[in-house]
């Protein structure tokens, strides 16, 4: 009986959750109770500070770096607004783009950029929220960027081709984000019932959309990377993907414009 009830709860949740999958990744304003909201802010803060420190150091060396971060940030933001059809749900969802951004500008700056993107989305698009900003920065910015970046680096070290590294980066960052979001939601909402039961329910109801969506994200990340690499190798180098020294020389980039 208990089993059956869970199945129904699951179906019920699906029916309502699916139309709003676009919002699934963002924890909505008001969902997190004060202590959890505060905790995630405290966790997220050092990462944002770390990113800002990197920004300061790198843009002192080269003022163009700030522009590059801002522009790549808004490009990734725009890409994250591109609708992708999700066949299982029959609706559209959106890529997060954090994996892509982490490849291009590094994970710490991706955290900065996604904190801004999340604020803009909360204020102007009703995705996410202000008190939940810390939680969303953690799941989308920090976890998404660092896992994606680490996977990309490790696969490259292993000598796998670039497209597969980019693909895995997209997949892992997307799934890691979704697992973190589920964790944050479950820990805040389980109330008197067990945390694991809640985590399983939330995780399971996101799964049918998030599994294909993660793969799509991987395909798109690989596609984007394949598109940029041959056309602008030096820019990608400058951004520290292939070589660690980030020096953007305007002359250099000019040559291919």
């Amino acid at each position: 009986m208990k089993q059956k009830q869970l199945v129904y709860i699951y179906l019920l949740f699906m029916a309502f959750a699916l139309p709003s999958t676009a919002q699934a990744m963002h924890i909505s304003e008001g969902v997190l109770p004060p202590q959890w909201a505060a905790l995630w802010f405290i966790v997220a803060f050092p990462f944002v500070a770390w990113g800002l420190r990197d920004l300061r150091i790198k843009s002192q060396r080269d003022p163009a770096f700030k522009l590059m971060v801002g522009l790549v940030g808004s490009a990734v933001f725009v890409i994250s607004c591109m609708p992708i059809p999700v066949p299982t749900a029959g609706t559209c969802s959106h890529p997060c783009g954090t994996g892509m951004a982490a490849i291009l500008i590094g994970p710490t700056l991706t955290v900065v950029v996604s904190s801004i993107a999340l604020l803009l989305q909360a204020l102007f698009l009703s995705h996410g929220g202000l008190t939940t900003l810390g939680g969303n920065i953690l799941s989308m910015g920090i976890v998404g960027a660092f896992t994606g970046w680490a996977v990309f680096r490790i696969t490259r070290k292993l000598g796998l081709p670039v497209w597969s590294a980019a693909f895995l980066c997209g997949v892992v960052s997307d799934w890691a984000t979704y697992a973190t979001t589920s964790f944050e939601l479950a820990s805040a909402l389980h109330g008197t019932s067990s945390f694991l039961k809640m985590f399983a329910a939330i995780g399971a109801s996101f799964m049918p959309t998030q599994i294909p969506l993660g793969i799509f994200e991987g395909v798109i990340t690989a596609g984007i990377y394949q598109f940029i690499m041959p056309r602008r190798p030096e820019v990608v180098e400058c951004l520290g993907v292939e070589k660690p020294q980030p020096v953007i020389e305007s002359n250099k980039a000019e040559a291919v414009v």
Binding site: S250, N251, K252, E254, A255, V256
Partner: protein, 291 residues
């Protein structure tokens, strides 16, 4: 101290991929002049502009601004003398509102806020965009964006203004009013103007002198009548004569119509034609019509 606002001596520039964009360019602009670089796409206009503005460093040759070599200038000193307006206003307009964006330059100069606001107001007034001050950049039309981009540079109070394709993408009325604006900045405020363009029709009205560029070389230099006289050269540079001149030129060449010289503007052409048309052919109504 010579009278050149801008002066290059045999400047050559090659991009790192080996493409030679400029070959021994000699380019001189006197103070207070209105000079146009006339060139087809891909012939080195933008590169030359960036070399003049110190954004690209040529491999050989020297660039002087007000008689002083470019490399001796500090950034702040150089860009208060010389302003550069880019072809695509989006490159330049990054502020959230018009007033914020125009204030960017003056604030970089470390001026007190009162002076900043004063310059913003002046610059917007000069380009006729004072009513746009509070608007968001992303709500402006393309023509408005171009004007605001110029205001942003004027707020630096440069003595020399270099513009890359200021009329590209504008409608005929916009093109004309843009050139009129530049003409008035040139005459009334004494700003030296250098612009790159390939719009031949309106140019002879405004430019004192024209540099004809092709494939990184200066083909010809001089007042517009002089440059346009050599039609074959113009055509070899993938350009053309202004339509009205071409019409009169062909009338003369193929039909033996006796036209003196080569009229370049509508006004000159009209005068020439009126001289040739017998009075009795002209209907009195049209004559009364204010010609």
């Amino acid at each position: 101290m010579n009278s050149f606002a801008l002066e290059t001596d045999k400047v050559s520039f090659a991009y790192p991929d080996g493409f030679v964009a400029l070959k021994e360019i000699v380019f001189r602009v006197k103070r207070g002049e209105f000079v146009a670089m006339l060139a087809s796409n891909g012939s080195g206009k933008t590169t030359l502009i960036k070399v003049l503005a110190g954004l690209l460093v040529p491999q050989s040759g020297s660039v002087k601004v007000d008689g002083q070599p470019l490399r001796e200038y500090s950034q702040a000193a150089l860009y208060q003398r010389l302003g550069l307006v880019f072809q695509n206003p989006n490159d330049q307009l990054f502020g959230a509102t018009v007033a914020e964006d125009v204030a960017f330059g003056p604030r970089n100069l470390g001026l007190p806020e009162q002076e900043v606001q004063c310059r913003v107001a002046e610059a917007l007034l000069a380009v006729g965009a004072e009513e746009l001050a509070a608007r968001a950049i992303h709500h402006l039309s393309f023509g408005q964006q171009k004007r605001v981009a110029i205001a942003g540079v004027l707020a630096m109070k440069p003595a020399i203004l270099i513009l890359d394709e200021p009329t590209a993408g504008l409608d005929p009325a916009g093109e004309h009013s843009m050139l009129r604006l530049l003409g008035s900045l040139n005459r009334e405020q004494g700003i030296t103007i250098v612009l790159a363009t390939h719009s031949v029709d309106t140019l002879p009205l405004f430019a004192d002198r024209i540099y004809l560029l092709n494939r990184g070389r200066v083909l010809k230099e001089g007042p517009s009548e002089e440059v346009f006289r050599d039609h074959e050269l113009i055509e070899s540079a993938s350009l053309r004569l202004p339509y009205v001149s071409r019409l009169l030129h062909e009338l003369k060449r193929f039909h033996g119509v006796p036209i003196e010289g080569l009229p370049l503007t509508l006004g000159e052409a009209r005068e020439q034609l009126l001289k040739l048309i017998p009075d009795e052919v002209i209907l009195p109504v049209i004559k009364e019509g204010g010609l």
